[in-house]
């Protein structure tokens, strides 16, 4: 079929000026909505104990899916997507404590606190809050934090911010001794 260029003796290159069909844009709505409930959101709802691993992973996965639809033949992006899928699968890098651990932390009653006691994370006196919710980490009696401040950290890390002691290691009880209680021989049987 004769094109416009043929008819008018124009160099064929002018066809390349036609804009390439737009690639579909990745749909990021899922990714951002999954981020909006990021681990920094503090909650005392014990039913939410499944995150952060699951949540971060699903965010990675949804980001990967969103981009997958919009690229073709771009090696860099493809390898990035593979990486995201991998991270989503394993939830790699997110190793925090569960909600149960946070619930079990020792509470510091208000009457034990003085004006000069500040949370090392927000640097604010505990008593500025009329109803301070303060917890003590098991590593040291002076390591106290607002529950609201320490929760997002411990959901992603298992260490005390002040001494980097792994709190999960200290809490894990030694494996119970294997009971080698043999079944009583019943010589009346058989």
């Amino acid at each position: 079929m004769a094109t416009y260029e043929d008819d008018h003796n124009l160099p064929a290159s002018s066809t390349s000026l036609k804009p390439a069909p737009r690639r579909p844009r990745p749909d990021l709505s899922n990714f951002f909505s999954s981020l909006s409930i990021s681990p920094s959101t503090t909650t005392t709802d014990p039913t939410e104990s499944t995150y952060p691993t699951d949540q971060t992973s699903s965010a990675f996965t949804s980001l990967a899916r969103a981009w997958q639809q919009s690229i073709e033949g771009n090696e860099v992006l493809e390898s990035l997507i593979e990486q995201l899928i991998e991270e989503g699968r394993g939830g790699a890098g997110v190793k925090g404590v569960d909600q149960h651990f946070l619930d079990e932390l020792e509470r510091v009653p208000k009457k034990e606190l003085v004006e000069a006691d500040i949370c090392p994370i927000c640097n604010t006196s505990f008593l500025l809050d009329q109803y301070p919710l303060v917890v003590r980490l098991p590593c040291h009696k002076s390591h106290v934090f607002d529950l609201e401040c320490i929760s997002p950290w411990l959901k992603l890390h298992t260490t005390c911010p002040l001494d980097r002691i792994d709190l999960t290691k200290k809490k894990t009880p030694p494996p119970p001794p294997v009971e080698e209680e043999e079944e009583e021989w019943d010589d009346n049987y058989g």
């Binding site: 990021s38 920094s40 090392p120 994370i121 927000c122 640097n123 604010t124 401040c149 997002p152 950290w153 992603l156 260490t159 911010p161 002040l162 980097r164």
Partner: protein, 149 residues
């Protein structure tokens, strides 16, 4: 989004009680972005130099570390040519109990005690190990050329 109270408090204290030899000033239009200058420590090849850095507090700070980069060219085994810094507390050893102030002090200390066994700038670290006096002389020259106050 409103600036967390902690960042406001840190900024106020940085201005009211500055660390000797360290300056950190937030941008007017972005209070998470700081212009930093660090004086090279005495008795180091960086003595007499003033080094400019940029510091950015990410959205989830202090759960994640600040992002910091040297803007002034510097010859140091733990700082690459893009100004990126190899320092444990800026990565795996970050803790939310650390602050802008403590991190900048760590960077100043890193200038006083280069660690060529944990390099970021491999060629610099290599030279530091093979010819320390030569490497220190280069660091001193670079300080005079690039970090003159």
């Amino acid at each position: 989004m409103a600036l967390p109270k902690r960042i406001i408090k840190e900024t106020e204290r940085l201005v009211a009680e500055p660390v000797p030899g360290i300056q950190a000033i937030p941008h007017d239009d972005n209070l998470r972005y700081f212009d930093v200058s660090i004086h090279g420590p005495a008795q180091s090849p960086y003595e007499g130099g003033v080094f400019k850095l940029e510091l950015f507090l990410p959205e989830d700070y202090p759960m994640t570390p600040p992002k910091i980069r040297f803007l002034t060219k510097i010859y140091h085994p733990n700082i690459d040519r893009l100004g990126r810094i190899c320092l444990d507390v800026l990565k795996a050893n970050w803790s939310p109990a650390l602050q802008i102030r403590t991190i900048l002090l760590s960077i100043q200390a890193l200038l006083g005690a280069p660690n060529p066994d944990d390099p970021l700038a491999n060629d610099v670290a290599q030279r530091w190990k093979e010819d320390e006096p030569g490497a220190i002389a280069t660091a001193r020259e670079w300080t005079q050329t690039h970090a003159a106050p």
